[in-house]
Symmetry: C2
Subunit: 141 residues, 2 copies
Protein backbone atom coordinates (compact mmCIF):
# COMPACT_ATOMS: atom_id res chain seq x y z
CA UNK A 1 0.00 0.00 0.00
CA UNK A 2 2.85 2.36 0.81
CA UNK A 3 4.19 1.75 -2.69
CA UNK A 4 2.08 4.70 -3.71
CA UNK A 5 4.06 6.91 -1.38
CA UNK A 6 7.11 5.94 -3.37
CA UNK A 7 5.42 6.69 -6.68
CA UNK A 8 4.53 10.18 -5.50
CA UNK A 9 8.06 10.81 -4.23
CA UNK A 10 9.55 9.53 -7.44
CA UNK A 11 7.56 12.11 -9.32
CA UNK A 12 8.77 14.83 -6.97
CA UNK A 13 5.41 15.33 -5.31
CA UNK A 14 4.57 15.81 -1.68
CA UNK A 15 2.85 12.87 -0.11
CA UNK A 16 -0.63 13.60 1.18
CA UNK A 17 -3.41 11.21 2.12
CA UNK A 18 -5.56 12.54 -0.71
CA UNK A 19 -2.90 11.98 -3.33
CA UNK A 20 -2.18 8.48 -2.10
CA UNK A 21 -5.86 7.64 -2.25
CA UNK A 22 -6.27 8.98 -5.77
CA UNK A 23 -3.23 7.34 -7.32
CA UNK A 24 -3.97 4.08 -5.55
CA UNK A 25 -7.53 4.04 -6.79
CA UNK A 26 -6.51 4.91 -10.34
CA UNK A 27 -3.78 2.30 -10.36
CA UNK A 28 -6.08 -0.46 -9.22
CA UNK A 29 -9.14 0.25 -11.31
CA UNK A 30 -9.66 -0.70 -14.92
CA UNK A 31 -12.78 1.38 -15.33
CA UNK A 32 -11.27 4.59 -16.76
CA UNK A 33 -13.11 6.76 -14.23
CA UNK A 34 -13.93 10.46 -14.45
CA UNK A 35 -12.91 13.04 -11.85
CA UNK A 36 -16.41 12.93 -10.48
CA UNK A 37 -16.56 9.15 -10.23
CA UNK A 38 -13.12 8.99 -8.60
CA UNK A 39 -14.39 11.42 -6.00
CA UNK A 40 -17.54 9.37 -5.42
CA UNK A 41 -15.58 6.16 -5.03
CA UNK A 42 -13.00 7.38 -2.55
CA UNK A 43 -14.67 10.13 -0.57
CA UNK A 44 -15.74 7.73 2.14
CA UNK A 45 -12.11 6.80 2.76
CA UNK A 46 -11.15 10.40 3.43
CA UNK A 47 -14.04 12.23 5.06
CA UNK A 48 -13.04 15.76 4.19
CA UNK A 49 -11.90 15.12 0.63
CA UNK A 50 -13.22 17.68 -1.83
CA UNK A 51 -14.04 17.26 -5.50
CA UNK A 52 -11.89 20.27 -6.13
CA UNK A 53 -8.83 18.50 -4.78
CA UNK A 54 -9.53 15.58 -7.07
CA UNK A 55 -9.55 17.95 -10.05
CA UNK A 56 -6.37 19.70 -8.95
CA UNK A 57 -4.58 16.48 -8.15
CA UNK A 58 -5.50 14.83 -11.43
CA UNK A 59 -4.20 17.85 -13.31
CA UNK A 60 -0.89 17.63 -11.49
CA UNK A 61 -0.67 13.89 -12.08
CA UNK A 62 -1.38 14.43 -15.75
CA UNK A 63 1.24 17.15 -16.07
CA UNK A 64 3.86 14.93 -14.45
CA UNK A 65 3.01 12.08 -16.76
CA UNK A 66 1.64 9.84 -14.03
CA UNK A 67 -1.78 9.45 -15.60
CA UNK A 68 -3.45 10.08 -18.92
CA UNK A 69 -6.61 12.03 -19.55
CA UNK A 70 -8.74 11.45 -22.59
CA UNK A 71 -12.11 12.43 -23.94
CA UNK A 72 -14.21 9.81 -25.63
CA UNK A 73 -16.50 12.38 -27.20
CA UNK A 74 -19.51 12.52 -24.94
CA UNK A 75 -18.53 15.47 -22.80
CA UNK A 76 -16.79 13.11 -20.43
CA UNK A 77 -13.14 13.07 -19.44
CA UNK A 78 -11.61 9.81 -18.33
CA UNK A 79 -8.40 9.12 -16.44
CA UNK A 80 -6.11 6.15 -16.81
CA UNK A 81 -3.05 5.26 -14.79
CA UNK A 82 -1.93 2.78 -17.42
CA UNK A 83 0.67 4.82 -19.27
CA UNK A 84 1.46 2.14 -21.83
CA UNK A 85 0.24 3.35 -25.20
CA UNK A 86 -2.98 1.48 -25.82
CA UNK A 87 -6.19 1.93 -27.77
CA UNK A 88 -9.63 2.13 -26.26
CA UNK A 89 -13.00 0.83 -27.29
CA UNK A 90 -16.08 2.74 -26.25
CA UNK A 91 -19.71 1.67 -26.04
CA UNK A 92 -21.78 4.43 -27.61
CA UNK A 93 -24.77 3.28 -25.60
CA UNK A 94 -23.64 2.75 -22.01
CA UNK A 95 -20.40 4.76 -22.41
CA UNK A 96 -18.20 2.10 -20.88
CA UNK A 97 -14.58 2.18 -21.96
CA UNK A 98 -12.39 -0.89 -22.35
CA UNK A 99 -8.76 -1.35 -23.18
CA UNK A 100 -7.84 -3.01 -26.42
CA UNK A 101 -5.41 -5.80 -25.79
CA UNK A 102 -3.18 -7.81 -28.03
CA UNK A 103 -1.33 -6.60 -31.07
CA UNK A 104 -3.90 -3.93 -31.89
CA UNK A 105 -3.25 -2.21 -28.60
CA UNK A 106 -0.50 0.09 -29.83
CA UNK A 107 -1.74 0.47 -33.39
CA UNK A 108 -1.57 4.26 -33.34
CA UNK A 109 1.93 4.32 -31.90
CA UNK A 110 3.24 2.03 -34.61
CA UNK A 111 2.44 4.62 -37.25
CA UNK A 112 3.80 7.71 -35.55
CA UNK A 113 7.00 7.78 -37.57
CA UNK A 114 5.07 7.31 -40.78
CA UNK A 115 2.64 10.10 -39.93
CA UNK A 116 5.58 12.31 -39.08
CA UNK A 117 7.25 11.78 -42.43
CA UNK A 118 3.99 12.43 -44.26
CA UNK A 119 3.14 15.67 -42.48
CA UNK A 120 4.64 18.91 -41.25
CA UNK A 121 4.29 17.78 -37.66
CA UNK A 122 6.63 16.46 -35.06
CA UNK A 123 4.46 13.72 -33.54
CA UNK A 124 4.61 12.73 -29.87
CA UNK A 125 1.75 10.36 -29.25
CA UNK A 126 -1.59 9.13 -30.52
CA UNK A 127 -5.06 8.33 -29.30
CA UNK A 128 -7.10 5.68 -31.00
CA UNK A 129 -10.73 5.05 -30.15
CA UNK A 130 -13.07 2.47 -31.55
CA UNK A 131 -16.79 2.97 -31.07
CA UNK A 132 -19.53 0.41 -31.01
CA UNK A 133 -21.82 -1.57 -28.78
CA UNK A 134 -20.50 -3.69 -25.94
CA UNK A 135 -21.57 -7.22 -25.18
CA UNK A 136 -24.43 -6.09 -22.96
CA UNK A 137 -25.77 -3.34 -25.23
CA UNK A 138 -25.41 -5.29 -28.44
CA UNK A 139 -28.44 -7.41 -27.70
CA UNK A 140 -30.58 -4.62 -26.40
CA UNK A 141 -30.33 -2.20 -29.32
Amino acid sequence: VEQYMKILKDYGLRVTPQRKLIIEFLSRTRSHPTAESIFEEIKDCSPALSLNTVYKTLEIFEQRGMVRKFNIGFNIYHYDANMNPHSHIVCTNCKRVDDINGNLSNLGERFIKEVESNSDYEVFYSDLFFYGHCKDCRHTY
Copy 2:
Protein backbone atom coordinates in the same frame (compact mmCIF):
# COMPACT_ATOMS: atom_id res chain seq x y z
CA VAL B 1 -24.72 27.99 -53.60
CA GLU B 2 -28.22 26.55 -53.64
CA GLN B 3 -26.69 23.11 -53.58
CA TYR B 4 -26.85 23.39 -49.80
CA MET B 5 -30.62 23.70 -50.03
CA LYS B 6 -30.61 20.32 -51.72
CA ILE B 7 -28.37 18.80 -49.06
CA LEU B 8 -30.74 19.93 -46.33
CA LYS B 9 -33.76 18.61 -48.20
CA ASP B 10 -32.03 15.31 -48.87
CA TYR B 11 -31.59 14.90 -45.14
CA GLY B 12 -35.26 15.67 -44.56
CA LEU B 13 -34.61 19.03 -42.94
CA ARG B 14 -36.39 22.30 -43.41
CA VAL B 15 -34.40 24.87 -45.29
CA THR B 16 -33.66 27.99 -43.28
CA PRO B 17 -31.10 30.72 -43.94
CA GLN B 18 -29.26 29.79 -40.76
CA ARG B 19 -28.96 26.13 -41.68
CA LYS B 20 -27.79 26.96 -45.19
CA LEU B 21 -25.15 29.26 -43.78
CA ILE B 22 -23.89 26.71 -41.29
CA ILE B 23 -23.69 23.75 -43.66
CA GLU B 24 -22.16 25.91 -46.36
CA PHE B 25 -19.50 27.23 -44.02
CA LEU B 26 -18.71 23.79 -42.67
CA SER B 27 -18.51 22.29 -46.13
CA ARG B 28 -16.12 24.91 -47.40
CA THR B 29 -13.76 25.19 -44.46
CA ARG B 30 -10.92 22.88 -43.63
CA SER B 31 -10.33 24.33 -40.20
CA HIS B 32 -12.44 21.94 -38.08
CA PRO B 33 -14.17 24.82 -36.30
CA THR B 34 -15.95 24.80 -32.96
CA ALA B 35 -19.57 25.87 -32.43
CA GLU B 36 -18.31 29.17 -31.12
CA SER B 37 -15.96 29.84 -34.03
CA ILE B 38 -18.63 28.90 -36.57
CA PHE B 39 -20.87 31.46 -34.94
CA GLU B 40 -18.17 34.12 -35.00
CA GLU B 41 -17.39 33.49 -38.66
CA ILE B 42 -20.93 33.62 -39.99
CA LYS B 43 -22.84 35.92 -37.67
CA ASP B 44 -22.17 38.91 -39.89
CA CYS B 45 -23.90 37.16 -42.78
CA SER B 46 -27.10 36.71 -40.80
CA PRO B 47 -27.52 39.59 -38.40
CA ALA B 48 -29.87 37.96 -35.96
CA LEU B 49 -28.17 34.58 -35.79
CA SER B 50 -27.77 33.29 -32.27
CA LEU B 51 -25.07 31.04 -30.85
CA ASN B 52 -27.83 28.89 -29.51
CA THR B 53 -29.11 28.15 -32.99
CA VAL B 54 -25.63 27.13 -34.03
CA TYR B 55 -25.54 24.64 -31.16
CA LYS B 56 -28.99 23.28 -31.95
CA THR B 57 -28.33 23.08 -35.66
CA LEU B 58 -25.01 21.30 -35.25
CA GLU B 59 -26.64 18.76 -32.98
CA ILE B 60 -29.31 18.07 -35.60
CA PHE B 61 -26.70 17.83 -38.36
CA GLU B 62 -24.68 15.41 -36.27
CA GLN B 63 -27.69 13.23 -35.51
CA ARG B 64 -28.56 13.04 -39.18
CA GLY B 65 -25.03 12.07 -40.09
CA MET B 66 -24.31 15.26 -42.03
CA VAL B 67 -21.34 16.28 -39.91
CA ARG B 68 -19.03 14.73 -37.35
CA LYS B 69 -18.22 16.07 -33.92
CA PHE B 70 -15.02 15.16 -32.14
CA ASN B 71 -13.06 16.18 -29.11
CA ILE B 72 -9.32 16.50 -29.38
CA GLY B 73 -8.83 16.47 -25.63
CA PHE B 74 -8.51 20.11 -24.66
CA ASN B 75 -12.09 20.76 -23.70
CA ILE B 76 -12.82 21.75 -27.27
CA TYR B 77 -15.35 20.21 -29.63
CA HIS B 78 -14.73 20.42 -33.34
CA TYR B 79 -17.07 19.88 -36.28
CA ASP B 80 -16.22 18.44 -39.65
CA ALA B 81 -18.44 18.13 -42.72
CA ASN B 82 -16.02 15.66 -44.28
CA MET B 83 -17.73 12.38 -43.48
CA ASN B 84 -15.08 10.20 -45.08
CA PRO B 85 -13.32 8.29 -42.31
CA HIS B 86 -10.04 10.07 -41.78
CA SER B 87 -7.50 10.58 -39.02
CA HIS B 88 -6.58 13.92 -37.51
CA ILE B 89 -3.36 15.43 -36.31
CA VAL B 90 -3.47 17.98 -33.54
CA CYS B 91 -0.93 20.57 -32.45
CA THR B 92 -0.70 20.41 -28.66
CA ASN B 93 0.57 23.96 -28.63
CA CYS B 94 -1.69 26.05 -30.89
CA LYS B 95 -4.50 23.43 -30.99
CA ARG B 96 -4.85 23.50 -34.73
CA VAL B 97 -6.27 20.36 -36.28
CA ASP B 98 -5.30 19.01 -39.68
CA ASP B 99 -6.52 16.08 -41.71
CA ILE B 100 -4.21 13.21 -42.36
CA ASN B 101 -4.10 12.44 -46.03
CA GLY B 102 -2.78 9.54 -48.00
CA ASN B 103 -2.90 5.91 -47.02
CA LEU B 104 -2.76 6.63 -43.29
CA SER B 105 -6.00 8.54 -43.49
CA ASN B 106 -8.30 5.62 -42.82
CA LEU B 107 -5.93 3.64 -40.61
CA GLY B 108 -8.47 3.17 -37.82
CA GLU B 109 -11.18 2.02 -40.19
CA ARG B 110 -8.95 -0.62 -41.70
CA PHE B 111 -8.74 -2.41 -38.38
CA ILE B 112 -12.37 -2.31 -37.35
CA LYS B 113 -13.05 -5.90 -38.34
CA GLU B 114 -9.95 -7.07 -36.53
CA VAL B 115 -10.88 -5.18 -33.37
CA GLU B 116 -14.35 -6.65 -33.60
CA SER B 117 -13.08 -10.20 -33.76
CA ASN B 118 -10.73 -9.58 -30.85
CA SER B 119 -13.31 -8.03 -28.52
CA ASP B 120 -16.87 -8.41 -27.32
CA TYR B 121 -17.91 -5.31 -29.22
CA GLU B 122 -19.77 -4.69 -32.42
CA VAL B 123 -17.67 -1.84 -33.84
CA PHE B 124 -19.11 0.97 -35.95
CA TYR B 125 -16.39 3.52 -36.41
CA SER B 126 -13.10 4.81 -35.08
CA ASP B 127 -11.36 8.05 -34.22
CA LEU B 128 -7.63 8.32 -34.54
CA PHE B 129 -5.72 11.36 -33.33
CA PHE B 130 -2.04 12.05 -33.54
CA TYR B 131 -0.59 14.74 -31.30
CA GLY B 132 2.49 16.82 -31.80
CA HIS B 133 3.78 20.21 -32.83
CA CYS B 134 2.85 21.74 -36.15
CA LYS B 135 5.27 23.40 -38.53
CA ASP B 136 4.89 26.78 -36.85
CA CYS B 137 5.10 25.61 -33.26
CA ARG B 138 7.90 23.14 -33.82
CA HIS B 139 10.49 25.88 -34.03
CA THR B 140 9.15 27.90 -31.18
CA TYR B 141 9.15 25.25 -28.48
